[in-house]
Each structure stands twice: as structure tokens, then as C-alpha cells.
């Protein structure tokens, strides 16, 4: 069994603003294992940042218990902070210091030895070594994000909380940052990542949790969630006479639903036992087939579906 690094037990947190009572996090229970990259996905205001704030010890939950390395985030945050770090895509950087000086300050705060070597390594890993004498507050947003990551890896943390680390970055910078995150996983670090970028989550995360209105509405490996929420195989056929195909296959037992337009047909199939038979039937239908492919749902489809379903509820 994988050792749990981060545990949330029934966490709830509400705020009162302008006479309104808002439940930001509602009975969230979650476990993240050692060496895992966990993606927390959800729309703005879903409760992601509130959860991050509770884990960092910035917020005290109304109910429940948040633990990192088996220690209470509310009462033992100082001990926890020695072994974790955090970088937010929205964080600013203090003025007046160059990159090296600021990292040196954080090395002193963490009481780290070999400061020069650590700073050099962190700056080289994030590709900022040649910018070490520049002030990070003057960096472009891409370099600024990379600088915050270099700050976050200074103490060689076992757990990293990354709050939308690639927000607002160009494709190249975001790609480099994702490579860095993958490298950190290879080093055995546990990472909790919040993002709005579904492709990023699909590429990086071992497991994901979808959060809406403060509740985790789905949690698990993407493949498992896909099976759970998209139980049907989907074949999309582009052809000139979709009616011909529909006529042949509509009697088959495994066909659950058929969506039809003038030149397209989307078939929802329960299980894969009849797949070969269905393909044969389509090919032999002489419906003027232009293309035919199995549709694999992406994380974005899952996200859209769950957010929509939840809204209807």
C-alpha cells in the first residue's frame, strides 16, 4: 500500500462576506500517496485555493482535519513547512532583490546548508542561471513562474503544492515547466497540482480530483473515471448515406444509442463483444464511408460532463 503523504478528513470551510454565507469547501476527504502527482481540477471559485490555503496552514478549517506527513496542518505547520514547499502562478516577488539574493534569503529562512550550491542548482534546473543577477520582479511572467519554482525546490521538498503553475505562460515556457514537474516526480516527490488546463492534467497527473462548489465530485485515475463516466465505446462514422448504416446496426443488441446528422453517425456501444461485427456491418453497408474511428474521451470531456451533470442536479 502506498504511504499517504497528504490526507484531508471531512474538511469544511465557510466564509461570511457582505452578509452572505459561502461554503467554500464542503466535506472534502482526500488522500495523496507518496510519489504521486495529483491534479485538483475545477472552475474558478470551486474551492481549490481554499484547500491549498488549509494545507499551507494559512486557513483553519471549520470542521475536519488536514494532515501532511501525519502532522496537523493547523497546529504543526512549521514542522510541515520544512519538508514541503509551494508555488503559485499568482504569487508576486519582492522588489529590490536580485534572483540570487532572494533565493539566499529563503535558504537562510529554511536554515539550509551549501546555500551557494543549492541556489546554483535551483537556478540551473529552471533555466534561470544566466538571469541570476536580475531582479525577479522585472522578469517576464514566464521567467517569474520559473523563479517561483526555483524557490519552491530550494529545500528539496518531499511535497510540492503547485497552484496553477503554468497560468498565463506561452506554450514553450509551459512545456519546460511541465518537463520540470515530470523530473520532480522521477525524483520521488509528491505533487499536488491545481490547473484549468485539462491537457496538462492528463499529461502530468496520476490521479485527478474534480471539485465543484466545494465538493469533490469525482476522484481517481483518469482511465478509471473514464470507464465510470463514459461506459460506452463510441464509433464516429463520416459517410454519404448514414441511414444505410443505421438500418443495419440498429437491431444489434450492444448498440445503446445512435446520434445521426446528414453526413455523420455516432454510435454508442455497450461493451466490446460485438465491435468486430459492427465494424464489418459498417464496411459492408456501402454507405459511402469517408472515415471511421473510435472516439476516446479526453479529460476535457469528462470535466465538461461532470460539471454539467452537477449543474443539472
Amino acid at each position: 500500500m502506498i504511504k499517504s503523504v497528504l490526507t484531508l478528513h471531512n474538511i469544511s470551510k465557510s466564509f461570511s462576506t457582505d452578509g452572505q454565507h459561502i461554503k467554500a469547501v464542503d466535506s472534502v476527504t482526500l488522500n495523496i500517496g507518496k510519489g504521486e502527482i495529483f491534479g485538483l481540477l475545477g472552475p474558478n471559485g470551486a474551492g481549490k485555493t481554499t484547500l491549498i490555503s488549509i494545507l499551507c496552514g494559512f486557513l483553519i478549517p471549520d470542521t475536519g482535519r488536514a494532515e501532511i506527513f501525519g502532522m496537523d496542518c493547523t497546529k504543526q505547520s512549521q514542522k510541515i513547512h520544512k519538508r514541503m514547499n509551494f508555488a503559485s502562478g499568482f504569487s508576486g516577488i519582492s522588489e529590490f532583490f536580485n534572483a540570487e539574493e532572494l533565493l539566499n534569503f529563503y535558504c537562510m529562512v529554511y536554515n539550509l546548508d551549501n546555500r551557494k550550491k543549492r541556489i546554483e542548482t535551483a537556478l540551473k534546473l529552471t533555466g534561470l542561471y544566466e538571469h541570476r543577477k536580475r531582479r525577479p520582479s522585472d522578469f517576464s511572467s514566464g521567467l517569474g513562474r520559473r523563479f517561483l519554482i526555483s524557490k519552491a525546490i530550494l529545500n528539496d521538498p518531499e511535497l510540492l503544492l503547485l497552484d496553477e503553475p503554468t497560468v498565463g505562460l506561452d506554450v514553450e515556457s509551459a512545456g519546460k515547466l511541465r518537463l520540470l514537474i515530470k523530473d520532480m516526480k522521477k525524483q520521488g516527490k509528491t505533487i499536488l497540482l491545481t490547473t484549468h488546463n485539462m491537457r496538462e492534467a492528463e499529461e502530468l497527473c496520476d490521479r485527478i480530483g474534480l471539485i465543484k462548489d466545494g465538493k469533490i465530485i469525482a476522484c481517481g485515475k483518469f482511465q478509471d473515471l473514464k470507464k465510470k463516466f463514459f461506459p460506452f465505446e463510441v464509433i464516429e462514422v463520416s459517410c454519404t448515406e448514414p441511414k444505410k448504416i443505421e438500418k443495419i446496426i440498429s437491431k444489434m443488441k450492444s448498440i445503446v444509442r445512435i446520434e445521426k446528422s446528414e453526413t455523420n453517425l455516432k454510435l454508442y456501444i455497450n461493451g466490446d463483444s460485438e465491435l468486430a461485427k459492427i465494424f464489418d456491418a459498417i464496411i459492408s453497408s456501402k454507405a459511402g464511408i469517408r472515415s471511421m474511428n473510435m472516439v476516446e474521451p479526453e479529460l476535457e470531456d469528462l470535466y465538461t460532463k461532470l460539471m454539467r451533470v452537477n449543474k443539472h442536479e
Partner: protein, 258 residues
Amino acid sequence: MNETIQQIMAVLYRNIIWSYRSPFRLADVFIWPLLLLFTFTFFLLLVGYDVQYIGIIVLAVIAWKGMFFVTFEISTIFVEEHWDDSLPNLLVSPITAFTLAMGGAITGLLKSLLVLIICLAVSFLAYGFVLTDLLTFAIGIFFIFLSSFSIGFALFGLACCYDKRNIFTLGFVLPEVLGLLCGPYFNVEQVFPQWFVSIVNLFPMTHAFNVIKSVFGLAQPDYFMLIITTVIWLGLSIVIHHTFYDMGRRKGTLVKVG
């Protein structure tokens, strides 16, 4: 190195770089204290020069400014990091509120030391003033430091809960106003009505300023009240700090992430 000491050194390192590169902070040490000193001494020269009165003005300016520096520096790191949106980076580190405050207080003390050197040098060159009873003055300054730490630490707690801009302003105003009310160069009994004297006697700074004035025989220090009020103020500041720090963590006003 011991972790707490290293963290205090980190705050000092940050503040020294910041002070060195910020004209605003340099003016704090090199311009405003001298301006205040000469404002008083020029007037004294007009109404009747006496080196004893020049001396009390010099020491009052040093102590008054020292009080401001210590109070202000304790709460200001927190507020400055907030304005730079960098507070989460700092608070996610193992640094504690106490080490942050101590780093700020020592920064204030170092600034006071610079002001002391500048003011003593200038007053010697301009008016021939020499501080003879350094020990008594040091005792007074030490208690000014402790009482200013109390005010700063309480303000730091309030900044965790309430609008940081307002607390920053309070960090400017409070030490200056309290400094004046506690009689840095005059005896409160000679200036204020009795009911108000009773109130300011509850402030440790009043007694600390009396210690400083006693260098010239201008006041009778009450060491018992000095120690008692200092201890009470320190205790109260710790309670206020922790109460509002926790309240900030409950209300979500400690730090804004994202």
C-alpha cells in the same frame, strides 16, 4: 546555526538590502531624525542656549525615532510582502511570527544605533554635546526597545486580521503619537492634566523616557513601574498577536493565495 537565529539573520539580510536600495528607508535614518533634531535645537538657540537642553533634545530624538523604527519594522515586513503578493512564499516557509518580529525589531535597533551615532556626532560638532552617562541612557533605550516591540507585535497580529494598509498607517502614527504623549523631552506632570498623567503612567515608554531624562537630572525614574508596565505590555502584545493571528486564519484574512 540555530534555526531561530538563522531566520532572524535572514530577516536582517532582507531588511538591510531593502534599506540600502530604498531611498525612502535611507531618508528614515539619514534625513528625518536630523531634521527633527535641528527643528528643536534651532528653536532652543533662539530662546536661550543650554547644552543640557540640547542634550535632552538629542537623546529624546534618538529614543523617539528608535521607538518608531522598532514598532514600524516589526509589522512592516508582513505588510510589504503582502503588497508584493509574496506573502504566501514567506508564510509557507518554517519562519515563525516571532522570528519575523524579532528580525524586524533588531533591524529597528540597528537603525536606531545609526541614528544615535549620527545625532551624537552632529550634536558634538555643532553644540559640543557629549553623552557622559551612557549606561543610564542604554537602560532607557533597552526599555524603549521592549515597549516598542510590544506595540509592533500587537500591530503585526492586527495586520493578520484587518486591512493591512490601515495597520501599516497605524505603524507610522502610533509610535510617533505615543512617543510624544510619553514625554520624550518634557515631564508629563508639568504638561498634562492629572487624569491624563495617570493614563500615560501606564505606558512603559513614559518611565523609559524618565530614565533617559534622569541623565540630566530632569526626571526621577520609577524603575518598579518601568519593569511592571513593560512586562504587562509584552504579555498583552503576545495575547493580542495570537488572538488576531488565529482570527486571521479563521477569517481567511491572514494571506490571500491566488
